[in-house]
Amino acid sequence: MDPVGVYIHIPFCTKKCNYCDFPSYPGLEGIFHSYGEAVCLEIERIASEYGNISVQTVFFGGGTPSLLPVPILSRIVNTLMQRFRLSEDAEITLEANPGTVHREKAAAWRELGFNRISLGLQAAQDRLLQLMGRIHTRKMFVESIEILDKYGFHNLNADILFGVPGQSLEDWLETLDLLLQTKIHHISAYSLQIEKDTPWFKLQKKGELPYVDESLEREMYYQAIETLKKFGFHHYEISNFSKPGFECRHNLKYWTGKPYIGVGAAAHSFIRDERTANITNPALYIQKIKANVSPMISSEKIDPEEKLSERLILGLRIIDGVSMLELEQEFGPEALDRHRAAIERMEKRNLLYFDGDMLRLTTIGLDYANQVWMEFL
């Protein structure tokens, strides 16, 4: 089997952010331990099903994985290393909230084998951080970077948001500026979507959330691309930038149709042409695992046609595009022919273009990618 990526979901946080619709819950400290045990059991379940899998990337996402006490984290990492074959140069990422980073933890994380930390900064203004419901300040972020650097982390990511209600262009440029002054190798810059069932969605419905001008939001995106490029960041995915060689290898697996295994509540897997999802509720997840029942709640077989369509959609997220030659070799020319008319239409609308055999989104296409993706469904 191809080497896989492993995603481990930690559905806990100190406090829910106002825009967050991820499966993450505050106030569950009481089940941290049993959750950790359940995750270890699930890893064993998977190992006994698939054998000794070779793993290239591991990603602890959340929630706030950095909230987990080191012994629990350690149990999970050790189980992983025992049951799977981690490659020498495996990328092992931990998502961390700047409000949870201390010297002791940083040292322990490094010790455990983590080599990449992804910090949720979101914005450089305490005023905005507070509005968003974040638990940290700008200062805590700066200190976190210093600590992590000092303890040997030389592959750091920061998540930032633009198009945030109340955020000015100056705020945004200041956020970018802060990152350019710190030892950051990777930046995920997301356009904020107000998702259903979040406090901000409700506020927006009541008309109480500041209006975000679409032109301003796009301006922020263009400025980010330009500024980051100037400082040596490679824009490699719609929302992702990195110094050369610091692309997130785990996330690239998602966009290039490679297999990955999700462990934990609400985790998703894509392996052997099947997409599966685990139960969302962490307590029920623990229960199922303890009862030796599969935590999977849905599975979907992806046929070649669908797989090709996903490869086109996901592949176009990557700025360098998707290799039509590779797709043709993998799926056959007839399968690809079905999409040719759509590609031509999108070329005419100036949303797609070819660079050699690489099909790419144009600059306009980056703003209207849904219009392109719809064509490949």
């Binding site: 995603y7 997301y190 356009s191 904020l192 979507q193 679409e214 032109s215 939001e217 796009r218 995106y221 719609i238 929302s239 996330n251 998602y254 966009w255 990955y260 999700g262 609400a266 985790a267 998703h268 897997s269 894509f270 997409r275 999802a277 979907e300 996903e310 959609i313 996901l314 997220r317 609308r349 980056l366 703003d367 209207y368 990618a369 849904n370 219009q371 993706w373 719809m374 469904l377």
Partner: protein, 603 residues
């Protein structure tokens, strides 16, 4: 003895306002006469179509033969002829009435008489029908039977002292209705020996028998094997079968004789050959003259009907053909639109008829439709003397070749409580109505008479009337004729491209306000797209209103990782579904509602 035969026949119809209980009473009469067992009894047998049931109206006249043993010990044949209940089918109602000697007038014990009912009562009186008033729904808390009786006496001048007080729903006093039908309504008296004259009051297409013609034999008789002649359409057929109606089916008979209500089958393939109101006679021994009152059904309202999915064009054609088998007044012919592709220009008796057909197409044939705003037939006199009938605004010739234009005018009567007279008169003025007069039919009901251009009614007049009278006003109209008028064609351009299906013809004085509202409405209906879309309302090359749909700046899912893929695909699929339903005009995506937006400019 021939006389005795006819003396035991009563031919009658039921006149009632929508939801005053006509169908329920018909059911009870059928039950009491034992034509159906309780088990066979389907609720509201006469309303066979779901749609009619839902709307509480009947579209097609039908009939049923009831056998009733009266208190005098004799067995009577009661022929109940059902009448359609709406202004659009006025002519069909008049033919059903002409087939009867009497009418049961059902009046709601709390609501009293409504405008439409009154119209039909006058129609019945014109045909010398004996009217039997019945007060229904006496069991309801708001019932005030004595007042209502008085109202019927005051308004129509009918003696109501003997009027049965009933509850059709609960089966109260149904017997007295039957007794009164026998006692009050006169039997038919036609000459059995005279040449055949049979009045067609409805027809129904059947896959096996062809057209089943519904007739009332006024004089003479008819049997299978005879050659019949349609006196107005001049078509001839050989009779294959005659008989009577029973609920849900037919009863074959040897002959139909003067006084009978029944059916004639003659391998007729097309309902157009059996026009309602025509007279059937025998080819070998024809009557001297047809029965009076025949009118050819004339569609007055037209609109374009297109399949939402272009591939369903033939399905739509098949569906229209099927509906036309039973509806001689539905017209359609193929047309094409640059915006909507292949479809049909359809003609209807009126707005309700149009709505019913649209709904039946969508419901019974499972078609997704795009319909254009309704139009009337304009008469265009060209400078070279040629006269054109224009039912599609897109076909209007170049303005420089037009000498003058005429539009259809209707006589409208509006019944309303007096407190709304002011605002309704205002509405009628706004719609270019010419005030004819006002009458109080009683202290709390006024009837306003106006001459109005039909094209002012076909947009949203019903809705406007209802909203200005809190739903109390009712409305009736008939075609009066044509009148010279200053009309212009208003075009809509999207991103510079003319959208033919959005063009409409409007009075000069209304062009600016309509153009402006139309542009505003379209601005709200058209979703933002990747580029800015100018909306222009124009008369010829002159732009009279302009709006802009701003471009959206982004349409991209910012984030997509492992767990999101299925969800994000679903979002894209939903978006694609919405896009698929769009029409394309040049590079503009136009939602289907946009084509109907011209309809609702006032609301």
């Amino acid at each position: 003895m021939p006389d005795t035969r006819q003396k035991r026949i009563r031919n009658f119809c039921i006149i009632a306002h929508i939801d005053h209980g006509k169908s329920t009473l018909a059911d009870r009469l059928l039950e009491k006469t034992g034509v159906l067992t309780a088990r066979e009894m389907e609720e509201q047998v006469l309303d066979t179509m779901d749609l009619e049931r839902e709307r509480g109206i009947t579209i097609k006249a039908q009939a049923a033969r009831l056998i009733y043993r009266a208190q005098d010990g004799n067995e009577y044949i009661l022929n109940l002829i059902d009448t359609p209940g709406h202004v659009d089918f006025n002519y069909e109602v008049s033919r059903s009435i002409a087939a009867c000697e009497g009418a049961v007038l059902v009046v709601d014990a709390s609501q009293g008489i409504e405008a439409q009912t009154l119209g039909n009562v006058y129609l019945a009186l014109e045909h010398n029908l004996e009217i039997l008033p019945v007060i229904n729904k006496i069991d309801l808390p708001g019932a005030r039977p004595d007042e209502i009786k008085q109202e019927v006496e005051d308004v129509i001048g009918l003696d109501c002292s003997e009027a049965p007080l009933i509850s059709a729903k609960n089966g109260v006093n149904i017997e007295s209705v039957l007794e009164n039908i026998v006692k009050v309504i006169p039997p038919p008296t036609g000459d059995e020996e005279a040449p055949l004259r049979a009045l067609i009051f409805d027809s129904l297409y059947d896959n096996y028998k062809g057209v089943i013609t519904h007739v009332r034999i006024m004089e003479g008789s008819v049997r299978a094997g005879q050659e019949i002649l349609m006196m107005n359409t001049k078509k001839k057929f050989i009779v294959t079968e005659v008989g009577y109606f029973r609920p849900g089916g037919l009863i074959p008979a040897e002959t139909l004789i003067s006084g009978d209500v029944g059916f004639i089958c003659a391998s007729i393939k097309n309902v157009q050959d059996t026009q309602v109101g025509d007279t059937i006679t025998l080819a070998s021994n024809p009557a001297k003259a047809p029965l009076p009152g025949y009118k050819k059904a004339v569609p007055m309202v037209f609109c374009g009907i297109y399949p939402a999915d272009g591939a369903k064009y033939t399905d739509l054609r098949d569906a229209l053909e099927k509906l036309q088998l039973n509806d001689a007044s539905l017209l359609f012919e193929a047309e094409t639109s640059a915006a909507l592709g292949f479809g049909f220009r359809c003609g209807f008796l009126g707005l309700l008829h149009m709505e019913i057909i649209q709904e039946r197409l969508e419901r019974e044939f499972n078609l997704d439709l795009v319909t254009t705003a309704p139009s009337v037939i304009y008469r265009v006199i060209k400078t070279d003397g040629e006269v054109l009938q224009i039912d599609n605004p897109a076909n209007l010739p170049d303005i420089s070749t037009i000498e003058m234009m005429e539009e259809p005018l209707v006589k409208a009567s509006i019944m309303t409580p007096p407190e709304y007279v002011g605002s309704i008169m205002e509405l009628c003025q706004e719609r270019r109505g010419e005030y004819i007069g006002m009458e109080y039919i009683e202290s709390n009901r006024a009837v306003l008479a106006y001459d109005m251009p039909l094209n002012e009614i076909i947009y949203d007049f019903f809705d406007a009337l209802k909203s200005r009278s809190k739903g109390y006003a009712s409305f009736d109209y008939e075609l009066k004729g044509y009148k010279k008028s200053e009309l212009v064609k208003l075009d809509i351009r999207l991103n510079g491209e003319l959208v033919d299906a959005l063009s409409f013809i409007v009075h000069e004085s209304k062009a600016y306000s309509r153009g402006r509202r139309m542009a505003e409405k379209l601005k709200d209906t058209i979703p933002r797209q990747m580029f800015e879309i100018p909306i222009q309302a124009c008369i010829g090359t002159k732009i009279i209103a302009r709006e802009t749909v701003r471009a959206y700046r982004k349409d991209v899912l910012a984030k997509c990782y492992g767990g999101d893929i299925t969800r994000k695909k679903k979002l894209l699929e939903k978006q694609k579904e919405g896009k698929k339903r769009m029409r394309h005009v040049g590079n503009v995506e136009l939602p289907q509602e946009a084509f109907m937006s011209v309809l609702k400019l006032d609301t």
